[in-house]
Amino acid sequence: MIEIERLTKRYGDTTVVDDVSFGVEEGTITVVVGTSGAGKSTLLRMINRLVEPTSGRVLIDGQDTRSIPEDDLRHRIGYVIQGYGLFPHRTVAQNIATVPRLLGWDRKRIADRIEELLDLYQLDPAEFATKFPHELSGGQQQRVGVARALAARPELLLMDEPFGALDPVIRAKAQDDLLAIQRRLRATIVLVTHDMEEAFHLGDRIAVMDQARLIQYGPPAELLTRPAEAFVERLVGTADRPFRLLSLAKVEDALEPGLAEGEPVAASGTLYEALSRLMWCGRQDLPVADGTGSVIGRVSITGILAYGRSA
């Protein structure tokens, strides 16, 4: 559990982070969104003390980060930045080994960890371990950047626009990979972006910042149904709000009793996907199957539309 308490940063007379507080549950992704210059990066960098807060504090599992020596703290917190900052004079393996080496892990353990992470990211160790960063594509560099941050099993992973430099296709894949890995490792992540789509796709909770202030903090659906300020409403976009909601809701949320013809949709899928399937195959309803494959009911166009309107 990470608790951010009344964090404030001032440079001279300008306040770039103004009295921000929120908590991050273990094993969840919190996304900080906001326009450029809102203070997102500064907020993130105060968590690993790359920026010293003017006031306020950060607690990790109840421990004040100021009581931990700076470098020790940073060994416990993974950090990924836009552009990744890979060491150009070190191989992929050496890059990933950075923090474990600082922590004094033995060779064998480091080598095993490198292999494990490269496997996790579908980079063949035999091919990639000895490559240098300039020999990698943008997407591969990004993956190495995250692998490096995860190497010493940090309690917390900070990511500052980690996908900002990727093209849309690679970006979507990188986001899905991150989600898969996060679920698998049960990692706690705080991620900064100014892309609302990304925030909705990745965030268990979203923190919206504007002009140094935190104006709303909550689960994605809450931002849609109860935007705290006009700014949030503008940010999430009023027009496609129902679609965003459908992409956040599960099929089981609009489950109706009864039977239907056709290929079943998964109960764990989103309503957005279900609607898309219904439109594509031109049916009014489809059966719904649970994880084991047995049909538990049906989902219908009218049901989905009703759900969207209820928002």
Binding site: N48, L50, E70, D71, D72, L73, R74, H75, Y79, I81, G83, Y84, G85, L86, F87, P88, H89, R90, T91, T98, V99, L102, F132, P133, H134, R148, A149
Partner: protein, 250 residues
């Protein structure tokens, strides 16, 4: 380097070695340049010995310049040393603009004749390229890379040794190469204050009006400069490749 370039350098090296170890073999080449039956080949000392002494002086001075310039460059790029940057820049520039001959003139009364005043002059003259390149090398390290290093919990000393210096190394080495090559020529003036070196050959030529001597001294110095320049450059490229800083062609 192309095959031809390698061949040319290899030939030059062999010629140079042959000349300094058995100069008399080349007497027929230099005979046309002499008058009044003057000797065609420098005969007042052993060329091999003089070459070694010359190189010894240049490399000792380069070593000292490198140590001081790199240390200074590192110090003034640390947060605590930034305020000394302008001062050290001026000092080092003065070392370069002050003519080495003038340095000799000042140094001789203080340390006497011989190798010492030459070392001082070369040391001062060679500081600037190394210092400036150290500054360039260290400041061009991507802030992103440094930020990542800091964010992963590398302390300032580790960042210096593991990130900044390795990344600046190619540029620093280029500065050392420049300094060495400049001083190979400059070192000839050392002979005016009785330092052993190839300047002796040239000065002997000037004194006895023997063009052959002047040419011999000049040629050996020039060949040394070219070959050492290329040798150091090859070494730099190798290093860049080993460090993974870019394709070998860089």
């Amino acid at each position: 380097m192309s095959r031809r370039a390698v061949m040319i350098r290899l030939t030059a090296l062999i010629m140079l070695l042959a000349f300094i170890s058995a100069p008399n073999l080349f007497a027929p080449v230099f005979e046309p340049l002499t008058t009044n039956n003057a000797p065609a080949i420098y005969n007042q000392g052993n060329l091999l010995f003089l070459t070694m002494a010359h190189l010894g002086t240049v490399f000792s001075a380069a070593l000292a310049s490198t140590l001081v310039a790199v240390l200074l460059g590192v110090l003034v790029t640390r947060p605590s040393g930034v305020e000394f940057l302008p001062l050290s820049r001026s000092l080092v520039s003065i070392g370069q603009t002050f003519p080495p001959v003038a340095v000799l003139a000042i140094a001789v009364p203080l340390v006497g004749f011989g190798e010492k005043p030459t070392l001082i002059a070369l040391f001062l003259y060679g500081l600037l390229p190394i210092f400036e390149n150290t500054l360039t090398g260290l400041t061009q390290v991507s802030p992103l890379t440094l930020d990542a290093a800091k964010g992963m919990g590398m302390g300032p000393t580790r960042r210096l040794y593991e990130v900044e210096l390795p990344l600046a190394l190619p540029v620093i080495l280029a500065g050392i190469r420049l300094s060495v090559v400049i001083n190979l020529g400059t070192a000839t003036i050392g002979s005016t204050v009785a330092a052993k070196g190839l300047g002796e050959v040239i000065i002997a030529g000037l004194q006895s009006n023997n063009t052959a001597f002047i040419l011999q001294g000049g040629l050996v110095v020039a060949l040394l400069a070219v070959l050492i320049h290329d040798g150091l450059m090859m070494f730099e490229r190798l290093l860049v490749r080993r460090l993974g800083l870019g394709p070998a062609a860089a």
